[in-house]
Amino acid sequence: MKTFKLLTLLSSLLTSSIFADELLNVSYDPTREFYQEFNAAFAKQWKQQTGKALTVKQSHGGSGKQARSVIDGLSADVVTLALSGDIDAIAKQGNLLPADWQAKYPDHSSPYTSTIVFVVRKGNPKGIKDWGDLVQSGIKVITPNPKTSGGARWNYLAAWAYADHKFGGDQAKVKEYIRALYQNVPVLDTGARGSTTTFAQRGIGDVFLSWENEAHLIEKEFPGKTQIIIPSISILAEPPVAVVEKNAKKHGTEELAKAYLAYLYSAEAQDIAGKNFYRPRDAKALAKWSGNFPKINLVTIDKEFGGWGKAQKIHFEDGGTFDEIYKGR
């Protein structure tokens, strides 16, 4: 027993704070490039402040899958995910942080935002300008499956918001529009990155509904092949962040984790976000990178859909509107 205790003590000494601080940030797919840069900036700042070296470990994957990993025991200190619903699940199912986590940081704990835009083939051969064009016959639309992809749910809600405004809230007409839209979808990949491959690499589809930052990455990756179209209306996606309090407490990284997330709101971090095509909250950073972010009429999920939980229930759960539009085909 004594040796066992000694061993655990030794191993904890070896892995923890004697030599360097360590933090595990569990995030979703398209934030890879942003957090690489942000982690370096924060580590530098942390060293100046405390004199300690810091290693931030990153984990990326589909947002829902990442949340499940944390619930099942992946010991994340902080989570930076795509949907507040996913962090809600960690709070509710895993009991790892308080239910009011979203009030802990400014702007609904979302230091940066994004939205859904269109990516089309270079020169826009099909002349796609707005959501209304997507339901014309002969147009192929690429978007992932909302049952398995968080990004796909934002696409769906953005389309819904457009139709809702256009038809003045006439539910039957809105559903008809959504049904016509998904009739033009030949492939529903399981995740956003899968859809990117289908559109950009396989050359399938005329228009790809994409995260704004992912759309810019496609332009970088496949130069001269695609272009971005800004629709008249879209949805404000607020990817939230939170300290996984129980894990942080166990690791003794509470202060560090809090400082890490707070730094996301600093001028430096906001600038990095803008550079990586996330819309900064900070007005100065937003102004600096305004070339990347054309003005769009953005609706919020709270105002338009009564919050994430409600939207999930009405649209994406079994028997929701998404299931409905595929019925009786």
Binding site: G62, K65, K147, T148, V187, L188, R202, D318, G319, Y326
Partner: protein, 272 residues
């Protein structure tokens, strides 16, 4: 001690077997059923009778059976060629059969999609004929054929290698033609191994996820497979519903495999 066995070590080996099977098979499966058992019978019924689940079940079991059948027919042919003839490159071909075992299924899925997509090498020509290979039930079938193929060859090969030419010679001296020799003498000997190969390929195909989701297109009611619906439930944090679909799949597969085994016993018994 009433009876001593001839071979020693029964207690130890049996104990080990049971512990091992419990750890790697029984306990995980029991956990699955426990999770699913949290829902009532009515809830099970509601989940399993949604149009999505029924459509996916038809596709999963149908495409798996079709793929396993094709693998069995062509597996027989390929094994015959590999065992019966000597030709340069035989060892190489033989090794190639195992590739679907070794390749990560996601890689297989992406590769197959690249080839069969409308702008792929083969898909391009199929598209001219109006055949949609990728993003259709046919795509699911193609992926399942790919991953099931080695099972048939590898179960049949040792049987065929042990099968000497004396039966054929005896049949020929008794006046049987080549066709009769094959159908009446050789083929019946291979049936048990073929059934085993079919069963393995079929069982593997039912649970396959990684390669299928890339080529199927995942359209609700059209090309969604059951494992995808399980993942879809998990994405909504509905662990119980996911467990129900998984448990139902497991029971259906078990029933089918059990039936096939029974059939095989009957055939074996008839042969002797």
């Amino acid at each position: 001690m009433s009876k001593r066995r001839v071979i020693p070590g029964f207690g130890l080996s049996m104990g080990f077997t049971i512990t091992y099977l419990s750890l790697i098979i029984l306990i995980p499966l029991a956990a699955l059923f426990l999770k699913a058992a949290r829902l009532s019978g009515a809830e099970w019924w509601a989940i399993l009778t949604t149009p999505q689940v029924i459509a996916a079940a038809k596709l999963t079991f149908g495409a798996s059976a079709a793929a396993a059948t094709v693998s069995t027919v062509f597996g027989l042919l390929v094994t015959w060629v590999l065992v019966r003839y000597q030709f340069p490159g035989r060892k190489f071909l033989d090794a190639m059969v195992d590739l679907p075992f070794a390749l990560p299924t996601a890689v297989a899925g992406i590769t197959l999609t690249a080839i069969y997509a409308p702008n792929g090498w083969i898909g391009e020509y199929l598209a001219k004929w109006g055949i949609e290979a990728a993003y259709s039930p046919l795509g699911v079938f193609i992926a399942l054929t790919f991953i099931g193929f080695p099972f048939v060859v590898r179960t049949l090969q040792p049987v065929m290698e042990d099968f000497g030419s004396e039966y054929e010679e005896a049949a020929a001296t008794l006046g049987a033609g080549r066709w009769t020799v094959f159908w009446r003498v050789i083929f019946p000997m291979f049936i048990p191994a073929l059934i085993t190969g079919f069963t393995l390929a079929f069982a593997r195909a039912i649970g396959e996820y990684g390669s299928v989701i890339f080529i199927s297109g995942n359209l609700p009611l059209k090309t969604e497979i059951l494992p995808l619906l399980v993942v879809g439930q998990l994405e909504q944090f509905k662990y119980e519903a996911a467990a129900v679909i998984a448990a139902a799949m497991l029971m259906a597969s078990f029933a089918l495999l059990f039936l096939i085994n029974l059939l095989q016993r009957r055939l074996n018994w008839q042969n002797h």
